[in-house]
């Protein structure tokens, strides 16, 4: 049977694939300066972003490949999140990778492959596609985490991520098998139509929970979170930023799509577990973050806690909840990459400043750095008028609407706890005298540009959320 392919629907993915090929070819020629590869990646992702925005605005809808690939405003919105993350990460990577030509090519190739994987996860309308997208993304990330192979810590991070990730993938796969048995199909609309009533079948319940395990691992939900701090700390900082942003959003995208579209009939069964996981994740993430001294680890625990906030919106399981989750993930990606970018900016002549006490007095000594870091941390803590506040506000609001008042109260308490460790860094920067004078490297201009973009994003969403909100509310499943 001949296959009709509507290439227009696949534009963002095709642009990324084309960029991939161009980067691959350019990487082969020794005569070309490899620093151009990063720029190629940015340009390619930028075009894909522009295409996605256009398609999203136009309300493009359609399926491809026998219903396996679904383009709708939901998937396009997530494409926008992924591509923004990719562009920001590529921008902060340009200076981070240094001038070593051999390091450039594979790095950007893997980032592009991971981005493609994420896009497949968001658009997958079939568990096979979601699984393959997830694996494509994960495999690229395992390598990226261990990318600085001369650094023992980076290798260790890669190995831990890989072993734990593969272990979780096996559960995820088993879960798909059980769902396949329970519903008789792996297609998302197929599952939904086969499961019109709530089912008590152990096959389905078990399968459903194992899917939660698989996604829970990728987005770092307690108790499947323990890889995150180690990997974030060990991985190159740019990659920590990348892992904490796009893949987390991709995990939630597929999570939402599968649970809201394929398993809505079983909402009463997954709902309460999600609530429990949300409480656990927020609380454990925030409480352990307080005890951290390394800023990358602190951000790792904070990212765990943020997964918990997102789960609050997921537990609401209404349109409000979905749109708030989407908004939150966008906000979260921008601010988290920004925070990691600020960590990279705080580079001394003997390496990055990773201990929080290294930041003492930086607020005045390095005003720009202080400003970036402060803004990002305030946004992560959810202070108005930053984007973080708007995101949290809508998440909590959707939960209140769904009647999960207790969840919101616990969320609010957690927000208060989190303010403590975010502000501690700010206080250290502005109110404490440094113990020793650190020699700082000059700011790389691309990194500063990336951070300025992040700042603009955080403030723009924080001050004018309504512009974005309409677009998000039209993108729910």
């Amino acid at each position: 049977m001949p296959i009709e392919i509507n290439w227009q629907l696949l534009m963002p993915e095709l642009v990324i694939a084309l960029t991939l090929i161009i980067v691959l070819i350019f990487d082969m020629f020794d005569s070309i300066s490899k620093t151009i590869l990063g720029w190629l990646t940015i340009v390619g992702a930028g075009i894909a972003l522009w295409v996605s925005i256009q398609m999203q605005q136009a309300g493009t809808v359609g399926t491809q490949f026998n219903d396996m690939f679904k383009v709708d405003s939901f998937s396009l919105f997530f494409n926008i999140i992924f591509l923004i993350s990719t562009i920001l990460v590529a921008l902060i990577s340009l200076s981070y990778l240094g001038k070593d030509d051999r390091k450039q090519g594979p790095y950007y190739l893997l980032i592009l492959l991971a981005t493609l994987g994420m896009m497949l996860m968001a658009a997958g309308n079939e568990l096979i596609v979601v699984f393959l997208g997830l694996e494509l993304m994960s495999l690229s990330l395992y390598v990226l985490a261990g990318y600085f192979r001369d650094n023992p810590v980076s290798s260790e991070a890669g190995m831990k991520y890989l072993l734990l990730g593969a272990f979780a993938s096996a559960f995820f796969l088993y879960g798909i098998a059980l769902i396949y048995g329970g519903a008789g199909t792996t297609s998302i609309p197929g599952i939904a139509s086969n499961l019109t009533a709530e089912s008590q079948s152990p096959l389905l319940l078990g399968g459903m929970f194992l899917l939660i395990v698989g996604f829970g691992f990728k987005v770092a939900i307690v108790p499947f979170h323990q890889w995150a701090p180690d990997v974030y700390e060990g991985a190159p900082t740019t990659i920590a930023a990348f892992i904490s942003a796009g893949p987390k959003a991709a995990g939630f995208a597929a999570f939402l799509r599968i649970f809201m579209e394929a398993l809505p009939a079983m909402q009463s069964q997954w709902g309460d577990v999600i609530i429990l996981l949300a409480m656990l994740t927020m609380t454990v993430g925030n409480v352990i973050a307080i005890a951290q001294t390394n800023i990358k680890r602190m951000l790792a625990y904070s990212s765990i806690a943020h997964a918990g906030y997102v789960l609050i919106g997921l537990a609401a399981a209404n349109n409000e909840g979905i749109s708030s989750v989407m908004l939150y993930l966008l906000v979260y990606c921008v601010m988290n990459i920004g925070a990691f970018g600020a960590v990279i900016l705080a580079k001394t002549t003997d390496g990055e400043c990773l201990t929080i006490s290294d930041y003492a007095g930086l607020g005045f000594r390095k005003p720009l750095l202080g400003l970036f870091m402060t803004l990002m941390l305030l946004s992560l803590a959810g202070f108005p008028p930053t984007a973080g506040f708007v995101g949290k506000f809508y998440i909590f609001k959707s939960a209140v609407q769904a009647g999960h008042t207790w969840l919101v109260i616990i969320g609010a308490i957690n927000t208060a706890i989190s303010a403590f460790y975010y502000l501690r860094v700010v206080v250290t920067m502005y109110m404490r005298e440094p113990e020793e004078e650190l020699e700082f490297s000059p700011y790389p201009s691309t990194l500063v540009v990336g951070l300025i973009l992040a700042v603009i994003g955080v403030l723009f969403i924080g001050i004018l959320p309504s512009l974005l909100l309409n677009s998000v509310q039209n993108s729910v499943l």
């Binding site: 290798s155 890669g158 190995m159 072993l163 700390e233």
Partner: protein
Amino acid sequence: MGLEYYLILSALLFTTGVIGVLIRRNAIIIFMCIELMLNAANLAFVAISRHLGETTGQVFVFFVMTVAAAEVAIGLAIIVSVFKHRQTVNVDEVNSLKG
């Protein structure tokens, strides 16, 4: 043969893999155990596919094998690069990242 028997076998193989992951120190053996888990899932797919009288499950297995091959390639490469630093592949000796 009923589907149940295949699924029981698959569950036992999967659990054996999990136990292996939990008890062995050698990263390569842990990795083999993960392959064992993937295979158990494959068995479940094929058995269910057969009992449903449709082919999705078999095709799925084909894709899982590809993924497994890619995962093994990368996994072993990472293990080799860890080995270069520490002269060991015992996971409980690779724990400098913690807290």
